[in-house]
Symmetry: C2
Subunit: 168 residues, 2 copies
């Protein structure tokens, strides 16, 4: 049995209201929030779950402190490269990360994203909130296939958390 088959894949609920410039998603993860926080702030762990499986991840910068910069590149099989970057406003272990986000393919359009880790028992309720500079930016993110990509990230994160739990 592979890790993937043994893990219950998480279900993410999205709130995307017409005419608003935000996206809110909620995911219940079967791991304590300390592990989830580590998966978000340790570059070696982050590279194992963030984004679709079909890309390799290159971590260019990953300074998980307030004021720290991050830059991550997805690399496709054909060599295509998609860069993402931002800075951290708040990194509060194990509760919350607030950072800016910019896709380098759409420069000058910045989002503010906050991940909150709530601890119901031994699980984590992850609330991911993104606010965009315009409704158009928000709608463009939704149209880009964001939900599918985010769901795949959450599946990969759940798998990683399973392996982190068993190696504790």
């Amino acid at each position: 049995m592979t890790m993937k088959e043994s893990t219950t894949m998480p279900k993410t609920e999205y709130t995307i209201e017409p005419g608003k410039q935000e996206i809110v998603s909620t995911t219940i993860l079967d791991a304590p929030r300390e592990l989830v926080f580590r998966a978000y702030t340790d570059p070696k762990l982050f590279a194992q779950w963030w984004g679709p499986r079909r890309y390799k991840i290159e971590i260019d910068k990953f300074d998980s402190r307030p004021g720290g910069e991050w830059r991550v590149v997805h690399v496709g099989d054909d060599g295509s490269r998609y860069g993402f970057r931002g800075v951290n406003h708040d990194v509060v272990a194990p509760e919350r990360i607030c950072a800016t986000f910019e896709f380098e393919g759409f420069p000058g359009h910045v989002a503010l994203q906050t991940a909150t880790f709530e601890p119901p028992g031994n699980k984590t309720r992850l609330v991911a909130h993104q606010v965009f500079e315009s409704v158009m930016d928000r709608d463009g993110m939704v149209a880009s296939g964001m939900e599918e990509g985010a769901n795949e990230s959450m599946d990969r994160l759940a798998e990683l958390l399973e392996s982190m739990k068993s190696s504790k």
Copy 2:
């Protein structure tokens, strides 16, 4: 004749639509954008215009680079202190500054703000855009007397720019 009397005070136009989570303001300043950009990025200059005249300004941190942190405190006559802080996402001379913003009296509520300096001739068209994490946060900022405070800042900025122009 004092500096204040000799300066034409700028007029700022605000766009604050019901149910939205953003504020956009536009101000025409009678100075080249290189000077406006300096007034935004040099802490000694910034301390001369940002906020109402009735406060003293303490600059705690002011690193005007991407990833740089800023923290500014308004100090009242009675010793009351109001802290504001954030990090810079982009600082692109002389065009644009994109940064996070948090009032320490309302912790955990962060805004993303972008100031764009457009150069129509020898004037600067300043477009200030703020996007909040919720409509409630935006409405709270409006209710706090933001417009009056921002107008006073723009008056002070215009005065500073006049003195910068004459000392060139």
